[in-house]
Subunit: 303 residues, 4 copies
C-alpha cells in the first residue's frame, strides 16, 4: 500500500533523529509524557485509513480543540460570530495583550487564546450543560463515545492560567465576554483538556475535508462554513508560525502544545500526527517535519 | 495676606470658565459629583494655611492614594521594593499591558495601576489587618481620625474593575504578585476609595515637603525616601501628562480621577486642589490650571 | 461558454454598485484614473481565456510587482533568500517600522514594503542593468514586449516616498541592505511603476498556477518554489486583509493600490481584476467582491 | 574649600573602581577615547568654581547639544515650537520609531533623536549660515571662542547614521520636516559633534541655573523658558533612565554618549562630569555615581 509505506518510511526516518524538541512543561500533566511517542494517521475521503506508530494512544489535544469550539459556535451563530472575533493572523508573538487593547477587545482570530475565550463565551450562552454538551458534540463528530476530558489537565491549567485570566478580564472590560469570567475560563480549560488518539483526531476533523459532513455523512457545517474554517486554519493555525506551516506543508491545520497536529486537504484527506517535543514556537517539531515530507512526497498540498 | 489673595483670585477667575472638563463616569459614585465643586488649599512648611472654595468637602482621592501606599511599602521593605517596581515614566498610554509583558511583569513605576497593584500586594504581606492598618496609617499621617473609605466607591470599582483584574493576573503570571489575586484587588480598590478634603490631603502630604516628617514632626520616611518619592511623583505622577505637569507647573504631584491634585515644593509647601472635571488625559482641568497660575504668580516652582 | 457568462454576470452586477471605494491619491498619476474602470480576465491552465470589461487597458500594478521580484530573487539565491526575509503575516498595520526594529531588521515577509525593499536589494546585486533586466524578465514571463514602466509614476513615488526611505534606512542600519540606499529605492520605485492590462497580468502570473512554467512551458521556478510563493501570497498578499481574502475568496493572490488583483488556483487557473476604487485596507473593493462571487459560483477555491 | 574637597573625594573614590562601563563604539572617533578620563567641574551661581581631574580636556558632547539647539529654537519660535515636539518622556526604548508613527510624526520630546531632528529643522529655517551661526551661539553662551565642532566626528556620524536617516524620513512623511532631509541631517550631525571641556560645558549651561542669563548677565531665554527647559531635562534628559536620574540624583540634566553629563540646580549651581564609560542605558556610569554622591553629600537636590 503506497500511503502506508510513505507513512512508515517517514516514521522510521524521524523517530531516530536526536533533536526532538522540548515537551511542554507549564503543567505537570503535560510534562510527564514520553518524548519518544510518535504517531501518524491518514484518513482519505473514501475512508481508506493508514496509521503507524503510536496512533492509538490518547494525548491532550489542547489548542486543537479551538477549531471544534469554533465550528460549533459558528453553527449556532452563523456569520454574526465574526463581529466578535476577526480572521486575521496575529503576527505578534511578543505581546499577546497589546493588540487586544489596540483593537478594542476584538481578538485577531479565533485560534489565539483571547479569540478562543470569546468562542467559549458564545458556547456558554447557547449550551444548557456546557461541558457535557461540548463533549457530546465532539463524540458525535468522531462517532466515538470513548473520547473524554482529562480532568487533571483541566484543573492544572486552571491553577496556573493567569495569562488566560488576564485576557478574559481584558475582554470583559471591552464588553466582549457576556458570561461571568470565571465560568468562561472554567469551560475554556475543560475544552483544552480533551484527550484523543491520532485516529480519533483525524475522524473528528474529517468534516473539514468533507464540506462539513462527518464520515457517516451527517451535516455539521455548511460547505461554505467548512471552507472558511479551513481558510482560518491556514492563516492562523500555528501561532506565530502559520506562514511557515503554509510555506513548508501547504495545508490548513492546527497544532496543540500536547504535540498533536491535524491537517486537512479539502476533498482529499485528513492527516494527524503526534510527537510531544515542541520547537521554540510551540509546535510539534517532528510533526511539522513529518507533514512536510508527506506533502512533498505525495505532491498533495493545496498550493 | 498675600497667598490667601492669590488663591482667592485664582479661584474667582477659574470658577467661571465655561470649559470645566468632564466628570469621570466609569462608576456611578464618581459621576454624581457636582462639576462646579472647586477647592484650593495651601499648607506652608511653617504650618501657615490658606484655603478657598470647597476645600473642606471630601472627595474620592482615587490614584492619589498610590503615593501613600508606596510610602508605607517603602517604609516596610526599603530599597528592595524597587526590584519589583521600576521608576521610569510609562510614556505609553495606548497599551497599558504591552509594556508589562515586554518588561517581564515589572511595572514601569508605582503610579500606573499595575505598579500600584504590586505595592498593594507588598502591603498585604506586611499588614495583619490590611484595610484597617492602611486607614490607620493615613489617619496618623494627617492626624485626623475622620478620614475614611467610601465603601460604595470600593464596591463599584470592584464590580467594574476588569482591566485591573487583567493587570493583576498578568502580574501573577510573572510571579510578581505573591498573595491571591482577588485579595490584592479587593485591598487595592479599598485604598482608591479613600475620601478626603483638600485640607486633609495637604496635611497627609505634608511629610513629602518635610523630609518624611508629618506636621507634628513624627517620622514616617527617611529624608532620602521622601526625596525619592518626590522624584517619582515628578516624573510619573500624571499618567501620560507627567511631562506636561512638570513643564507647566514644575512641582512633584499626583492626581486622581476624582478631580483631586496634590503637589509639594520640598522644604516650602504643600498645595491641594479639587475640581471634578477632567481633561482628556484624566487630570483635573481647573486643578492643573490653578497650580500653573500659582507657581507662575509666586515663582515657587522647583525649576 | 460558462466561465465567460459568469464573468459577464459579475461584471454587470458590480459595475453599477454605488459604493466603489476610493482611488489612491498619494501620487497624482494614480489619482487621475477613472474610478469606473472595471476589468476581469480569466486564464485557464489549458490556455482557454475569458475577459470582460476593461481587461485590455493598462494600469499601474504597484505592489503586485513584489511577487515578480520575489520570484526572480528566489531564482537567483534559492532558499538563502529566507535568511533575509521571513514568511509570516505582518498583522500589524499600525506601526510598520516597529516590528522591523523588534525583529532586528528582518522584514516579516517579502510583500510588506520593507521586505520588498530587501528583495530589490538582492536583485540589484545580481542584475547588471537592473531596470532593464527586470523589465526583460517580466516581458519574458508574459511573452509580451509591450509591457513597460510608467516613468511618471516612478518619479512621483520617489518624490514622496519618505516612508519607504525610512524603512530602507532602518534596514541599512541592521545591515540588511547591501547596496546604496538611494540605488535600492530608485530600483524599487521603478518596479512598482510597471503598467499592465488584466490580460498581461494573468499571463505573467500563469507560472504560479503552472508549477513554475509560463504559458509556453518555459521554466522560471521549480515546482517547489512556485508552491511556496503561492503559500506566501495566501498568507501575506493582502496587507492587513490577508486573512479576510483567504476567508472570503480562498485563493493565493496579490493586490496593488492601483486597483489590480491577481489570484491563482494551482493547476487550474489564473484570474485578474482591475477596479481602481480601494476599500479602507487599500485593496480593490469591487475586485475582492468579484473574486468572492467567482469562487463561490464556480466552487473553485483551494479550501 | 568645602565643595572643592567634596569633588576631590568623589574623584579619588570613583577613579579607581574597576567597573567603569563601556566606551561608545559606534563610530571610531568615540571609541579611541581613554576610558580612564574623569573630570568634575562645579560652577556656583556666584561664579565660584571648582574642578578636579580632567575638567579641562575637551570631549564630544553629543546629545548634550540637543539642549542648546532647543534653547535657540525656543528663542526663535516661542511656544509655537511645542506644536511640533511634545514634552513627554518616551519610556519606550525598544522601538524608537513606533511611537513616532502612532503619534503622527510628533516626537515625544526634544531630546530623543527624532525630536532633536525636528529642532534642527527649525533652526535651519531661521539661521542664514546654520553651522556657523549655531557655533557662534554656543561660543557666546560660554564666552569662549575656542569651542569648535569635531569634523571627523560629524563625518563619521553621517556615514553610519542610518537610524537617524530613518527617523528624519519618517518625520518628513508626516510633514514635520520642512527643509530637505539631507540638509537637516547634515546640520544635526554637526551639532552633535561639538567638543567641550567640563569647564566650558558648565559655563554654557550656566544660563539654565540663572533664569536664562549667562555668566555675564546676557539674556538668552526668558525665566519661564529656562524653567521649562529645566523641566524637560528632568523628565527626558537621560534616555530611558530619566526616572532613575531624577530618583538618584534629583537634578535636571542631560547626558551624551561621549560620556559627559551636565546638571543644574536652578538659582544655585551648574555641575558637569566626564567619564567615557557608559552603562547599559548609554549614560556615563561614573558620572551618574559622582552626581548622586554629590547631591547626597551636599543635600543640594531639587527634591
Amino acid at each position: 500500500m503506497e500511503y502506508q509505506n510513505i507513512l512508515e518510511e517517514i516514521h522510521a526516518t524521524l523517530k531516530n533523529v536526536p533533536e526532538k524538541g522540548t515537551v511542554a512543561s507549564y503543567i505537570p500533566e503535560l510534562e510527564k509524557v514520553n518524548i519518544n511517542r510518535f504517531g501518524l494517521y491518514l484518513l482519505m475521503l473514501n475512508k481508506e485509513e493508514h496509521g503507524t506508530g503510536d496512533f492509538d494512544i490518547p494525548f491532550s489535544i489542547q489548542s486543537i480543540s479551538k477549531v471544534l469550539s469554533l465550528a460549533k459556535a459558528l453553527h449556532f451563530t452563523g456569520a454574526d460570530l465574526w463581529k466578535r472575533v476577526d480572521v486575521e493572523p496575529s503576527g505578534n508573538p511578543f505581546n499577546f495583550l497589546a493588540l487586544l487593547e489596540l483593537e478594542k477587545g476584538i481578538p485577531r482570530n479565533p485560534f489565539i487564546n483571547a479569540g478562543a475565550i470569546v468562542v467559549s463565551d458564545i458556547l456558554l450562552s447557547y449550551f444548557s450543560d456546557p461541558k457535557k454538551d461540548f463533549l457530546n458534540y465532539v463524540r458525535e463528530l468522531a462517532e466515538d463515545d470513548s473520547i473524554n476530558y482529562n480532568e487533571a489537565v483541566a484543573r492544572s491549567e486552571k491553577a496556573t492560567g493567569f495569562r488566560n485570566a488576564a485576557a478574559a478580564n481584558l475582554l470583559k472590560s471591552f464588553g466582549n465576554i457576556h458570561n461571568k469570567v470565571e465560568n468562561v475560563l472554567d469551560f475554556y480549560f475543560y475544552q483544552c483538556s480533551l484527550s484523543m488518539t491520532c485516529r480519533q483526531l483525524a475522524r473528528t476533523f474529517y468534516m473539514f475535508a468533507n464540506s462539513g459532513k462527518n464520515a457517516s455523512g451527517k451535516v455539521f457545517l455548511t460547505p461554505s462554513q467548512a471552507k472558511r474554517i479551513n481558510a482560518v486554519m491556514l492563516t492562523c493555525g500555528f501561532y506565530d508560525e502559520a506562514g511557515e506551516f503554509a510555506f513548508e506543508v501547504g495545508l490548513p491545520g492546527k497544532s496543540g502544545v500536547g504535540g498533536g497536529i491535524v491537517a486537512v486537504h479539502p476533498e482529499k484527506y485528513c492527516i494527524s500526527t503526534w510527537s510531544p517535543g515542541l520547537n521554540e514556537k510551540g509546535n510539534s517539531l517532528l510533526g511539522m517535519q513529518a507533514l512536510e515530507v508527506f506533502t512533498t512526497r505525495t505532491g498533495l498540498s493545496i498550493f
